[in-house]
């Protein structure tokens, strides 16, 4: 299939079982499943607006269980924006993001222009190993944005993707196609500024 030049490609990375697929499925389909199923690679498409016209948001859900360096490099070089997910219940999952971040820096070079979101998922879980401050600290070190989410409780999921697109300065991308929801979005943006740890 020939690739459309105006696709906007988001790639989701993270260790196995942190909830990458859950976040993506919650965002794309609005559903959540308890099932424990490893992913090899899935791509989802959604129509968004970009520079006052329509384009396709392509979300690539990568594998956390496999180590295919070639696939990872390919996904990074094709991606426009990245979501790095860890689970607040696992310090190890945060540590596993380091090599991925380094690889993005290496392939993409000027990292400031690349929208990257660091995401602490499973914020609803009571058995935390990491609190939000640790995520924030890492995000400021990496010069990227940070958010805690819960795919299960549908907390901050829509906001995550919106924020990621807001970080894109090279073109104007927005989740809204028709502009009708923009008011609602502004409200959400306000809320997001004050978001606190559950």
């Amino acid at each position: 299939m020939p690739e459309q030049s105006n696709d906007y490609r988001v790639v989701v990375f993270g260790a196995a079982g942190v909830g990458k697929s859950s976040l993506v499925l919650r965002f794309v389909r609005g559903t959540f499943r308890e099932a424990y199923i490893p992913t090899i690679e899935d791509t989802y498409r959604q129509v968004i607006s970009c520079d006052k016209s329509i384009c396709t948001l392509q979300i690539t859900d990568t594998t956390g269980s496999h180590q295919f360096p070639a696939m990872q490099r390919l996904a990074i070089s094709k991606g426009h924006a990245f979501i790095l997910v860890y689970s607040v219940t696992s310090r190890q999952s945060m540590e596993e993001l380091q090599p991925i971040y380094e690889q993005i820096c290496q392939i993409k070079g000027a990292i400031q222009k690349i929208p990257i979101m660091l995401v602490g998922n499973k914020s609803d879980e009571s058995q935390r190993e990491l609190d939000a401050r640790e995520g924030e600290a890492l995000a400021s070190k990496w010069k990227c944005s940070f958010m805690e989410t819960s795919a299960k409780m549908n907390y901050n999921v829509q906001e995550l993707f919106q924020e990621l697109l807001n970080l894109e300065k090279r073109r104007t991308v927005s989740l809204q196609v028709d502009g009708k929801k923009s008011k609602q979005q502004k409200k959400k943006d306000k809320l997001k500024g004050k978001c606190s740890v559950m």
Binding site: A15, A16, G17, Y36, I37, P38, I40, E41, G64, S65, H66, Q67, F68, A70, M71, L74, Q92, S93, E96, P99
Partner: protein, 464 residues
Amino acid sequence: MQPMLLHSLSELERAILQELALYQLQEKLLVGDLSLAKVGPKGSKSIRQKLESFSKEKKDGYPQTFGIPLFQVINNDRAYKQLQEEVKSSRRLCLEVEATVIRYRAQIQKKSTLGRSCGLVPCKVYSEEPLSPTFLDNSSWSQRRGGMSVDSITDLSDNTSKLLEALQLSHPHELDLRRSRGKKKMLSLNPITWQVPRIVDRCCQHIEMHGLQTVGIFRVGSSKKRVQQLREEFDRGLDVFLDEHQSVHDVAALLKEFLRDMPDSLIPRELYEAFLSTASMECPEQLATLQLLLFLLPPCHSDTLHRLLQFLNEVAQHAESSRGPDGQEIPGNKMTVSNLATIFGPNILQKEKPGEKDSGAMNIEDSTAVILVLQRLIEHYQTLFMVSPEMQHDILRRLFQTDPDVIDYLLRRKFNTVLSTESEPLTEESPPSLLPSQSCTLERNQLSSELYSSVSFLNLDVGI
């Protein structure tokens, strides 16, 4: 005749079975690509590969386990075991000498110092004593293992070498070796040693002991540093012991890495398309075809795959939470057959060589089929590795035309093993025997009559 485990067939029978399987698969037009014309260049390619891997070895300081062909891993293990035995026996001798010397010295000291400040020497003796029993234990164990391997160094007769030449797919490397050694020797009439590399066995055992209840085993990440360390130890040819202090996730990652880095993936690349084509078949047809394809594998690949599938089946059986004997809940590991197949599929069924551009990425389109095929293999491994009586008859019939003199021996061995499986406890390495228990109740005379009928059946068949 009873169904028999593939690996308990003799080397000769296995070679014939490979040929039969290839023939049947070609009839099904499944492996037309493997036709003999194409085998030639592949043979030369394997030599090139060998040379390449050889030059690579030199650079990397001779890796003993990772990234080298499976048969070589097994050879390395075997060589190491033999070396170890020699070292151990010499060390045992040294220990004995040392012990007598120390005892002698202690006696002298006792005499001279009369118990004054002689604490040091007996203490030394004490510290060394607990070592020796473990040494002895280990060596006797590995000697037994080493002893089994002697039989596997077998060779080829003129007859069978032609036969195998037509089947270069089987084990090109070993074949080359044999040819250079001369053509006057025979394929063994005894089963080949259970050929599973140490690293696979150790990893499986470790997880069977410590990891069956671990949620997300094989899925959850590992410490890259510790895995690298383990990998280096195996590559240096060290005798790596995995104990309960080793994280199961590290061991799981090590096993995956070993499979992924095999230059000849566990299911050889030549058979990749054929295995995948079974994905769209109806179940009974699918299993029959998969079985034939498994029969095509070189023995070391087939045995290792058998061990791995048996292990994955075991892991999957602990996927769901269950109740212990006291009613307490035992948490499941959540790794169902399809999850395990998702994780292991791309490691076992590889289309491209590791290291080649976009390896893995190319696999993505096939991933559903890869997962489905591996799922079937895990679910049905028990029946897939059994050679049906019909197949055994076919083998014997085939042999009757080429080597009629060995048939009697093979039949005798067959019925003897049926009897002896009851009396002999299975060794640690052999997979569970799947012979139905009723076979053991057969009387001797019953057996011999069955043997007779089998022979006469063969005679008749060939006569016509």
